[in-house]
Symmetry: C2
Subunit: 262 residues, 2 copies
């Protein structure tokens, strides 16, 4: 444990606050020692009730990365040296409990949530560890675009699902840092404070300036306009059916779907 500090800045905080997503990588493999350090750091993250309900699949095979790039619509999934697929994994808990004659009760919304959060906490530790080693990363939510095909390609079984991917590699560019919401909008005190929505005005200006500068005036919208465009139509509407088929969220099936009488 480190001694208490009064100055709220140090190497780790600087690293965290300096994050940007990297989408171009040098054609240089990642030393195995680094991969191990990244995975061990991921594993050290907190886990709900010690369940450790996730599995990380490391993909380096060029053909598989190419296929995953196509399935996710992200070219850099092919060009990164290492693609990590973070899976929520309740199957392992079933296997563990079965050794003691117990069928683990993992098919409801709560275990789905637990496994998803466990995978995310591990992933963020992996991201921080990778960046501390001079690597760059980018989360790939796009693997949910054609998630059933991703599962087929990676032989992902029932009670496991890929939450997101992460490209990892030595950075070949240094993109700008996207401005975040004002702290005042995100951090509430003692209760949820909807009146903090007022900070969206200033933020729209900040984002407008950022895009205008970065695109030479080609994009000039603020954040709220961007969100309006992004969410006009529902996204990835296949997710519920996919997750149910994969064994998750069984409690969302009505009585009829579960074969019960109403």
């Amino acid at each position: 444990m480190r001694p208490f500090e009064v100055n709220p800045m140090n190497e780790t905080i600087r690293l965290l606050q300096n994050h940007r997503s990297i989408r171009r990588y040098a054609p240089r493999p990642i030393p195995e020692e680094m991969v191990e350090a990244i995975i061990r750091s991921a594993q050290a993250a907190s886990t709900s009730s010690y369940v450790q309900a996730y599995t990380i699949i490391g993909v380096t095979d060029p053909a598989k990365k190419k296929a995953l790039a196509e399935l996710s619509g992200n070219a850099h999934v092919e060009t990164c040296p290492l693609f990590l697929v973070f899976c929520a994994d309740l199957r392992r808990l079933r296997v563990a409990a079965a050794r003691h004659g117990v069928e683990a009760q993992v098919e409801g919304t709560e275990p789905f949530l637990v496994a998803t959060v466990d995978a995310a906490l591990a992933a963020q530790n992996a991201a921080v560890a990778a960046e501390s080693l001079g690597l760059g990363i980018c989360y790939i939510g796009g693997i949910r675009n054609r998630i059933a095909e991703v599962c087929q390609l990676l032989e992902i079984p029932r009670l496991v699902y890929p939450v997101f991917g992460m490209t990892v590699g030595f950075p070949a560019d240094e993109p700008g840092k996207k401005p975040r919401l004002p702290l005042e909008a995100v951090f509430h005190r003692e209760r949820y404070e909807p009146e903090r929505d007022r900070h969206l005005d200033v933020y729209d200006e900040t984002v407008r300036r950022y895009y205008t500068e970065r695109t030479g005036g080609q994009r000039t919208h603020g954040w709220t306009a961007y969100i309006a465009g992004l969410l006009k139509e529902p996204r990835r509407t296949h997710m519920l059916d996919f997750l149910r088929r994969q064994g998750f969220l069984q409690d969302t099936l009505g009585a009829a779907g579960r074969g019960e009488r109403p």
Copy 2:
């Protein structure tokens, strides 16, 4: 950006791998500069499509902490100087889009997932930042035990839900590090490899040794036996109904529930 390193160990990775949950805190408030550094670090985490779909509620009010401790069944929620409640927040996206005459489509499983993951990534950055400052943290999933009452207490509106809490404070004890699953069990190569279940045997031995030593022989079970006991009965079965009432997972309602004809 830091220069490339070959040695896969540094201060940040040491910090990540040295994590343990802290449940006893010194009666000492956290300087406001530290709180701000923690929140800014949380905000710097990756966010799906730039939506930043989370809100962090900081609770320091003794009466509120006491109530939250009771609702979550965790005494240290009362004794920690700062309790952070990480909320998945789709409401802000609705507000943002409404400024442009758009009703953001956020009621399905996919946006629920996005907001939950966004909150978790931010939280893990907050945890790492806090620990880098000499603070200790503990995730509190227990706020989902009586989650509707937590929402009432913190005035959490529709389309927002508290995913978990986090106690933060200066550590008053130094608990042991709980052994994680073998890396070989969690990290798969090129595909999901169920044959890696075999590593559970060794892990059971590791955990058995850990508990035996730590409890002077009072607890001697391995990990798989622990999981069997934990998951014999379904947990927090109210979550689906709660989330639906809160505006999430509307696509899980059958045609009848959505008021449509079958």
